[in-house]
Subunit: 408 residues, 3 copies
C-alpha cells in the first residue's frame, strides 16, 4: 500500500513552516521515513534524508547556507537535489566529491502547501492534484494542520462517514427537559434538521476516476430527499458537504506520517470570494488549537482526555469536547494507533467505509499486477466539490447536484 | 493463576469514584482487561468492555444517558448488562439490534467499594467476601486507594511479612547519641518495644478455609510471648495486627491491574465505634497522598524517589520516607514490576511468604484439576480479624487470641 | 569488548558526589550494571550491586550507617567489601550470616574522581592510570560531568577527530557581508587561523603503549606545518590540543554507562599553576550546564534541540549552540544511541577514527586469545600530554613536540 501512496504528490508541510529563503530546516516524517526539508537561497524546496551520509548526523542541526544545507559536523553541503557542493575536510581532489549523493525527493510549493513526491521517478505526475482549495487565491482559503496519533485510514474513514455527522457532532441531548434530542437540535440550527430527523442515512457509492462518489440519503419530506454528497479522492482526500451553497466548503488531507501517526490538514475554502474573518477554521467551533512547539499536537489531546467537560456533554453537545475537528481527532485516536478491524461489527451505516477499503485494496492490486495506476496521472480530474442538496425523490443525486459539484 | 482470581468478587473502585446516578464513566483496568464502569439512572453499576464493538471507540468518552452508556461516534447505547438499547445510524429493522452485545461483567456496590466478578458465571458467589470492614457502618471505616507499579504478589507478601515491621517502619536509628536503635524506639512508643526488642520473629503458619493464619512470635518476657497474628484471605486480602485492642484495625486488598500494576486499597476500621477525626488513614503517618488527576498515583513516587529526606533517615526513621503506607509502596516498587524470585535468598524470617506462594500455587492446581475452588464460595468465612497479643508461653496462639479474632 | 573495558580502573563518579563519610548512597550504572556507591564511616568507598540479595530491594533507599549500608526492608547491612554485618530478622545462629555476600567491586578515590575496577581480580592494576589531570593539585584542575545519550564510541571518535574542530566549532559563517567564512574566523581569533585556513588536515597515526598518537597536519606557511597532536589512551581517554603552550589543557573520559549512554567527564588542567577564575570549564564557552536533579543531563538537550538559536547559527557560529562541549554532545547524540556504521561514508579526514576502531578490535582479539592486555598494567605510561605546535616541514611531529608532550 505504501507503493500506492508513493505514486502521488503528497502534502508535507504548510508553506508557512518554511516562510522564506534560507530559513531554518524543518523535520518531516512521511511514510515512515525521516526527512529534512529546507528552502534554499533561490526559494527552491529541498527534501533530503534527515541524516548526513558521512557520519549520520541529524541535518535538522544543519546550517542553511547559500543554496545548500550544510552538515555542521564536517561541513558536507547538499543542494536541493541531493548533490554534494562542499566537503571541506576532504582533500580538493577527493573522488568522494563526485561520488556521494544524499537521498532526495522532488518537492514543490502549491496551494499553500509544500508537496513531495516519494515514488518511482518514471511515473511522477507533473504537478499535484488540482484540488479546488489549491486553485483558489490564498485569500479564499484557510489551511490548518494537526497531528493525529493514529493510522491515516481511521481519518479517511471518518471523512467519508456521513453516519456519524448527526450523532458525534450533534448539539444536544435527550436530557433537555421537555424536549427531545432531535427537536432541540433542529431548533438550534434549521440546517441541521435533516441530520437530526434521520440519523440512519442510506449510502450510494459509485466508483470514479478520482476515487469514489458517495451519496448519503436522508428523508427531507414526503417528496424529497436530503443528499450529502462527498468525494473520496485518492489516495487520502475527503470533503465535507457544506450546509448551504453560500457557505465555505471543508475538506481534509490525511497524510501518513507512519503506520501510527497522521498529519491532518484541514482546508476551508470558498470558490468565488475571500473568506470572512472568523469564517471557517478561524472559529473556535471548527478550529483545533495546537501546541506552538512545532509538534502540531492539539492543546487538548489524549493526555488530558481532549479537555472533555462532562457538564457540557450533559447539557450542550454529545461529546463535551469543543470543536468538530477535535471531536473527530479524539474519537479516531481512541480507537488506538491502528484499530483492530477484525473486532469491528460493521452495519449498513458503514457502507462507504467498506467500499473505501475495497477501493484501496484494488489500487494496491492494480499497482502490483500492472506496475502502474491510471488514476493519479491527471491532476485535472480532482476538480470536483462536495454538496449538500435537497432533491426530488426521483432525481439521481449525481445528476441533480452536477452543477454544484463542478469546479470551473 | 488468573483463573483463580476470577473466581472471586474483586474490589474495582471506591464507591466515591461513581458518586451518583448518571455520573461520568470511569476507566478500570483489572487482570489486564480494559473496562469501563458507569452508574446508570437507576443507580445500577455496569462494567463493560472499554471499547465499543462497532468501531472500537473508547467508551470513556461515552455519554451516560437514561439507563445506558452511549458511544458518541455512531450512538450505540448499552445497558449495564451489555445489551444494545439503540443504534441510531442503522435502519429500524436491522437484525444487528438484536444480535449485538458488548462484553459485560456482574458488578455491585458493597462496603464502600464497587465490586466486579470476572469469572465463570456458573461459579459466581452471590456476594463479596464478608470482610469486617465491609460489614461495619461507613462511619466506622476509612478506605483509601493508591496505584502501585508492581505485581500484586509483592504487595501481598509485604502484607503478611511481620519481619519487616520493626525494621522498615522503625522510628529511630543507631546514630542517636547515647542511645541505641532499639532503646530509642521503645522510649518513643512503648507498644513498639516488642518489635524493637526482638527483630527476628518466629513464624507459625496454619492453613485455613479462608487462606492461612499466621502467627509471628516475639519474646515479651521470660514467661510470655508477644504474638502478631494476621490472616491471609484468598485471593489478596491481608490485615495488620493492631497495636492495642482499642485501636482501629488496618488491612489491605492488593488488586491486580495487570502483571505490572496493582490497586492497593487500604482499610482502617473499628468494629464497634465510629473512627475519630485523624484516626487511621486521616493521619499523615499512615495515609498516602495521591495525585488528584484520577491516576491515584502517590504524590511521592518513584520519579521523585518517594520524597526521601536523608536528614530524616539519619535522625528520625529508617527510610526518610513519610508514612507507613508509602514506605511499603516504595520498597515494593523498588524490587521492580515483577521481582526476579530466582535471585532472592529467603531466610527463616520469610516463612509466611514461602507458605503463601505454595498456597496460591495449590489453589491454581486445584482449579485446574477439579474445575472449582471450595474456598471462595462462603462469604461468611471471611469474618475474622487480626490481633496483637501477649500470651503465656504455653498457650497456643490461635486458642489464646480466638476471642479477639472473632467477628460477630 | 566489555571484557577489555573491565581490565581498566574506570571513573565512576565525581568525588564531590560523595562529599563526606556516611553521606547518602549514589546510584551508578556502568557497563550495563546497576550499582550503588557509598562512603562509609571511615571514608572508604563501597560499590555494590544495587539490589539487596535478600528480596531485591533497591539499596539507593538504604541507610548509610556505621561502616555499612543497611537495606531498610529487613535490615541486612553490608560493608564496602560486600560482607554482611547484620541480619536482624534472622536468628542469631543462622548460617546465612556467614554464607551471604553481595556483589562488590574494588573502588578508590583519586584525582577528584571515584574509580572502580569491575574486571578479573587477578589482573587488577594497583592504581588508576596516571593521567596528568589526576596528578596535579586540585587547584590546578577542573572536572565536570555530563550525561550523553549515545554509545561511548561516538564520544571517543569525536575526541580524536581533528577534522571537525575547524568546522563544528567554527565561529563564523560565509554569510558575513564582504567576508568569507575563513577570513572572518581568522580575524576573530588569530590562533584559529590555521584551522580556518586548512580545513582538511592530513592524519598521521602511530601505535603507542598507551593507545595511539595522532598528528593532524595543517598548512601554516610555505616552510611550516601546524600540528595538532593528541593521544588516545586506552580504553576511552582523549585530549584536545591546546591553543597555546600557556593555556590549560583539556581532555575527556568517555565512560560507558551501557550500550546507549555515556558519562562524559571533561577535564581542564594546567600542569604548573592554579587555574584562574573562569578559566577553562568555568567559562560558558566550554562548560555544559547540567540539570541539578542528579541526572547530569545537560540543561540544553535533545528535548529542546540543544537550545539551538537560528539567528546565532546564521551570524555567529556554525551551530547556533552555545559551548564547544555541548556542540560535541549534541552532534554525537543526533547520530542516535548507536550510529549505524554500515551506512557511514568515511573519507581521508576520518583516518584517526578508522585507526581507533582497528585498535579496539585488536585489544579485544588480544584479550580473547591471550587472556590478558599488556597495556593497562603500567599506570605511568599515561603520563603524556597533547600539543598544538608549528614545526618546520622537515621535522617529525613526535620529535618536534616531544618536550611539550612530556609529563614530568
Amino acid at each position: 500500500m505504501g507503493e500506492v501512496l508513493r505514486r502521488y504528490w503528497m502534502p508535507a508541510l504548510l508553506s508557512e513552516e518554511m516562510p522564506e529563503a534560507d530559513c531554518a530546516p524543518v523535520r518531516v516524517r512521511l511514510l515512515g521515513e525521516d526527512l529534512i526539508a529546507f528552502r534554499d537561497t533561490d526559494g527552491r524546496i529541498g527534501v533530503l534524508d534527515r541524516f548526513c551520509p558521512h557520519r549520520r548526523v541529524d541535518l535538522f542541526f544543519g546550517r542553511n547556507e547559500e543554496c545548500g544545507l550544510r552538515c555542521v559536523y564536517h561541513g558536507w553541503k547538499f543542494d536541493v537535489s541531493g548533490n554534494v557542493l562542499d566537503m571541506p575536510a576532504e582533500p580538493a581532489n577527493s573522488p568522494m566529491r563526485d561520488e556521494v549523493k544524499i537521498k532526495s525527493y522532488p518537492a514543490m510549493e502549491w496551494g499553500g502547501l509544500i508537496w513531495v513526491y516519494m515514488g518511482d521517478p518514471d511515473h511522477m505526475p507533473d504537478r499535484p492534484p488540482e484540488l479546488e482549495w489549491g486553485l483558489v487565491p490564498s485569500t479564499h482559503r484557510n489551511i490548518q494542520k494537526r497531528l493525529q496519533e493514529n493510522n491515516y485510514a481511521q481519518g479517511v474513514e471518518g471523512g467519508i462517514d456521513s453516519s456519524h455527522v448527526g450523532i458525534l457532532h450533534s448539539l444536544l441531548s435527550p436530557r433537555e427537559p421537555g424536549r427531545g434530542f432531535r427537536e432541540r437540535q433542529q431548533a438550534i440550527d434549521p440546517r441541521l434538521s435533516f441530520l437530526a430527523q434521520d440519523t440512519a442515512p442510506k449510502f450510494f457509492v459509485r466508483p470514479s476516476d478520482y476515487g469514489m462518489l458517495i451519496g448519503a440519503r436522508r428523508k427531507a419530506s414526503e417528496e424529497e430527499f436530503y443528499w450529502r454528497i462527498t468525494q473520496f479522492l485518492a489516495p487520502f482526500y475527503t470533503m465535507i458537504a457544506p450546509r448551504s451553497p453560500e457557505g465555505p466548503i471543508a475538506g481534509h488531507a490525511w497524510v501518513p506520517i507512519d503506520d501510527y501517526n497522521t498529519w491532518t490538514f484541514t482546508m476551508y475554502w470558498s470558490p468565488d470570494r475571500p473568506l470572512r474573518e472568523f469564517e471557517g477554521l478561524d472559529s473556535a467551533k471548527v478550529n483545533v488549537p495546537v501546541l506552538d512547539d512545532g509538534s502540531f499536537k492539539p492543546v487538548h489531546n489524549r493526555s488530558n482526555n481532549y479537555g472533555i467537560d462532562r457538564a457540557m456533554q450533559r447539557d450542550k453537545n454529545s461529546t463535551g469536547i469543543i470543536g468538530i475537528g477535535l471531536q473527530d481527532s479524539a474519537i479516531q485516536e481512541t480507537m488506538g494507533p491502528i484499530v483492530d478491524r477484525s473486532r469491528e461489527m460493521l452495519g449498513s451505516g458503514d457502507a462507504a467505509i467498506v467500499a473505501w477499503r475495497k477501493l484501496m485494496l484494488a489500487l494496491a492490486d492494480e499497482l502490483e499486477s500492472t506496475g502502474k495506476l491510471h488514476q493519479p496521472l491527471q491532476p485535472e480530474i480532482y476538480r470536483v466539490r462536495s454538496a449538500g442538496i435537497v432533491l426530488p425523490r426521483g432525481v439521481d443525486f449525481a445528476d441533480g447536484a452536477r452543477e454544484r459539484m463542478t469546479v470551473a
